[in-house]
């Protein structure tokens, strides 16, 4: 029973030390974000037209509605060609 008590105390200490550590660690991360990252963000803002976000946006675009700008261009061109071929009355 004595050893059980001892294990209990050990487990209790572990619980306390663990939670303190977790909070301290993630708390430091909060400070890191607020001090370091926010400053970095101000100093190096994203370029207005991000070179990287462009292809991403394109990908999303394709993924979300399946229509690429090229298709739209092709449609425009097809309509134009059709118009020319058939003599548009507009």
């Amino acid at each position: 029973m004595d050893s059980l008590l001892q294990t209990f105390i050990e487990a209790g200490t572990l619980m306390l030390a663990g939670m303190v550590f977790v909070f301290a660690f993630l708390g430091l991360l909060v400070i890191f974000i607020n001090l370091v990252l926010v400053k970095l963000a101000n100093k190096y803002p994203d370029p207005i037209i991000q070179s990287k976000s462009k292809p991403k946006a394109k990908k999303t675009n394709i993924a979300s509605n399946g229509v690429t700008p090229q298709v739209v261009a092709a449609i425009g061109s097809a309509v134009t060609q059709y118009k020319q071929k058939h003599g548009d009355k507009a």
């Binding site: 209790g12 572990l14 663990g18 550590f21 977790v22 660690f25 430091l28 974000i33 803002p45």
Partner: protein, 377 residues
């Protein structure tokens, strides 16, 4: 005639033991949960299948020379598979919501109380005759409360390999049960008014913040908790590959083909630990019970922490997102969103809940590191 006898003696029917039959049924049960109930199928399908294979008499899947033997010792005993999964998860994780609202880290921290309370509970179970969990065992069980599969497998493989099967089953089962376990606790601990709290839109997070963040996390882990660096390090490597923008092909492979290949083997290898002698005992019941407790306590701690933060600060957070602090990405965040919508159909909490959700992943990796540092070896 002799030939026929040899053939008969080589059949499963002539060699079955009861434990093997039961464990195969457990494997089938896992397959059923995965396929029919959609319980974390990516891991539970190979794991359930591995449980069946490892219990086949005569075949020797998990003996020297058997496929699952190689898979387990090369990938799980060494920790390689969970670490590669963690790298892939890192490459899938967007820390934007967390960086935009760093306070949510405290929610992720609070939810880890599920782990440490369960550790206490597992030791307490020793008072009941039949349970004899060492501190190592108790720690490996407690990590179930972290709601993070690879973390649980990694820690269990280091601290209590003979409990690995039961711990993985419990961890993944409860992660799948998040939509059932969490909502009642969330509703019980919050008022209608609290659940209706709308949160301010998150600020834009720049590319450089996302690139530096994983490096900062790694640096702090190196300083304060080297024992957690295998997990946190591989996670941060994946995340850095994702965000740095110059190694997209590596990031894509880490998120797709590599994680898929490793998941198949990880599942099979974990399943190979579901043998009768290691699973069919009262300790497994204890693990399953403690796992449920751990999840519930973690959920409650996250919600209560959010309420406490609202008391201390004028900027209000919806306490429902505290429940997402247990991790179980992205399910817990979706649950927070869903319960929030019930109270206020115009209140979309998903993005806000992603902050504590990914904080919970870091939190449980840190907790695993603490346990490794304190009770390892």
């Amino acid at each position: 005639m002799e030939q026929l006898n040899t053939l008969w003696l080589s059949t499963g029917l002539a060699n079955f033991e009861l434990g093997q039959v039961i464990m195969m049924l457990v494997g089938c049960g896992l397959l059923f949960l995965a396929i029919a109930k959609n319980f974390e199928p990516l891991l539970l399908v190979p794991m359930g299948f591995g449980a069946i294979l490892t219990n086949i008499p005569v075949a020797g899947f998990s003996e020297v020379g058997g496929l699952l033997h190689y898979v387990y010792y090369a990938g799980i005993d060494t920790g390689i598979f969970p670490l590669l999964i963690f790298m892939g998860v890192g490459a899938m994780t967007d820390f934007g919501a967390l960086i935009a609202n760093p306070k949510t880290l405290f929610l992720g921290a609070a939810a880890q109380f599920g782990i440490f309370a369960t550790l206490f509970g597992a030791i307490a179970l020793n008072a009941i005759p039949g349970f004899e969990f060492t501190l190592q065992d108790a720690s490996a069980i407690a990590i179930i409360g972290g709601a993070d599969g690879p973390t649980a497998i990694f820690l269990a493989s280091k601290l209590a390999p003979e409990l690995l099967g039961a711990i993985a089953v419990a961890a993944y089962s409860y992660m799948a049960l998040v939509p059932i376990i969490q909502p009642p606790i969330m509703r019980a601990l919050t008022t209608e008014k609290e659940r209706k709290i709308e949160m301010a839109q998150l600020r834009h997070v720049t590319k450089i913040e996302k690139v530096i963040f994983p490096l900062g996390v790694l640096l702090m882990t190196i300083f304060f908790l080297p024992a957690a660096t295998p997990l946190v390090g591989m996670f941060c490597l994946g995340n850095l590959m994702r965000e740095c923008g110059v190694v997209d092909r590596l990031s894509s492979t880490a998120q797709n083909e590599l994680i898929n290949i490793v998941t198949i083997f990880l599942g099979l290898g974990v399943g190979s630990k579901l043998s009768a002698d290691q699973f069919l005992n009262v300790e497994t019941l204890g693990i399953l019970g403690l796992g449920a407790v751990a999840f519930s306590i973690g959920t409650a701690s996250g919600v209560l922490m959010a309420k406490l933060m609202n008391k201390l600060s004028s900027e209000q957070v919806n306490p429902l997102i505290g429940a997402a602090g247990v991790s179980a990405v992205p399910m817990a965040a979706r649950v927070a969103n869903k319960v929030g919508l019930e109270a206020n159909p115009h209140n979309f909490l998903l993005m806000h809940a992603m902050g504590p959700n990914v904080a919970g992943v870091l939190g449980s990796a840190v907790a695993a590191g603490i346990l490794l540092a304190l009770v390892g070896q």
